[in-house]
C-alpha cells in the first residue's frame, strides 16, 4: 500500500487551474499525456511539468506502455484532502447557521412611531 501523500502537496497541486482541469479530465477516466494536453493552451513540456506536480502530490499516477504514457487519478489522496476540509468547514457552517438563526430570533422589533 502506498503511503498517503501529505495534504500540503495535495493542496499545492490543486491550487493551479491548469492542474485542476487535468484532475477534472482524469476524474472522467484515464487519459494519455497528449489527450490531457489537447484542450490546454500550452506546450507539451509545460503539461508534463504540471503532471509531475500532480504525481508528486499522489493525486495522479501514470504508467508508460510502449510510447504512450497513460495517466489516471488516485482517489485516496483526494479523499484525504476532501475529508479534512469538509470536517473543519462543516462545523463552522453549522455554527454560522445557528448564528443566523440567533440573529433572526433576536431581531429588534421595528419601533412603531406614535401616531399623534
Amino acid at each position: 500500500m502506498q503511503p498517503v501523500a501529505p495534504l500540503d502537496l495535495t493542496f499545492q497541486a490543486l491550487a493551479d487551474p491548469t492542474r485542476r482541469t487535468m484532475v477534472e479530465r482524469l476524474s472522467r477516466g484515464p487519459a494519455s499525456v497528449s489527450e490531457l494536453a489537447e484542450p490546454l493552451a500550452m506546450t507539451l513540456s509545460a503539461v508534463v511539468q504540471h503532471l509531475a506536480v500532480l504525481e508528486a502530490s499522489g493525486l495522479v499516477r501514470s504508467q508508460k506502455a510502449g510510447r504512450v504514457r497513460t495517466c489516471r487519478i488516485e482517489p485516496k489522496a483526494l479523499q484525504a484532502a476532501e475529508r479534512w476540509i469538509s470536517e473543519r468547514r462543516a462545523s463552522w457552517e453549522h455554527r454560522l447557521d445557528r448564528l443566523g438563526a440567533f440573529l433572526a430570533e433576536t431581531e429588534p422589533k421595528p419601533r412603531r412611531r406614535r401616531k399623534t
Partner: protein, 154 residues
C-alpha cells in the same frame, strides 16, 4: 504509540447576514449571545461558555456527544476592532489529547443593509486525530465538493 504528524490547512467561509455589522459583532462579543450559537451541535452536552472579550482575554467551552469524547476549545483573543474584526488563536483537545491549533480571523464587512462575514481559519492538525462531526458529509460527489471548497479557499 502515537504516530506523530502535522497537517496544515486553510479555509474561508463567507456569509451574508441581513443585519448590521454591529449586531453580528455583538453576537461574538457577549458571552450569553455567543453561547446561543457557538459550541457543538444542539444534541451535544455542553459546559458553560466562558468569555473574556478583550485583547489578551480567553474563551473556553467544552462539549461532546453523550457518552462520547469531550471536545475542549480554548481561545486567546489577539486583536479586536469593534464591529470590524476579531483575530484569535485557539486549540482543541479531544479528552486529554491536543488535536489542533488554529488562527481564526473573523471580518465583519458592511454589505448593503447587512453584513458580509468572512471567517478564515489556518490550522495545524496534530497526529491525525479526527475532529468529530461532519464526517457524513463525505458522501457527496468527491470532485464537486472539493471544487466548492477550493473555490472558497481561493
Amino acid at each position: 504509540m502515537t504516530q506523530r504528524s502535522t497537517k496544515h490547512a486553510t479555509f474561508t467561509i463567507e456569509r451574508i447576514f441581513p443585519v448590521s455589522p454591529a449586531r453580528v459583532f455583538a453576537a461574538y462579543a457577549d458571552a450569553k449571545a455567543k453561547a446561543r450559537w457557538f459550541g457543538g451541535p444542539d444534541e451535544w452536552e455542553k459546559s458553560n461558555l466562558t468569555l473574556d472579550f478583550r485583547v489578551g482575554g480567553r474563551e473556553s467551552v467544552s462539549g461532546g456527544p453523550s457518552g462520547g469524547p469531550v471536545h475542549h476549545y480554548n481561545a486567546l483573543y489577539q486583536d479586536i476592532v469593534p464591529n470590524e474584526r476579531i483575530v484569535l488563536t485557539y486549540e482543541m483537545h479531544l479528552d486529554k489529547t491536543r488535536i489542533s491549533v488554529s488562527l481564526g480571523t473573523t471580518e465583519f464587512k458592511p454589505a448593503g443593509e447587512g453584513t458580509k462575514l468572512v471567517y478564515t481559519e489556518q490550522s495545524v492538525f496534530l497526529d491525525g486525530h479526527d475532529d468529530a462531526g461532519g464526517r457524513e458529509q463525505g458522501t457527496r460527489g468527491l470532485l464537486d465538493n472539493l471544487e466548492a471548497a477550493l473555490r472558497r479557499v481561493a
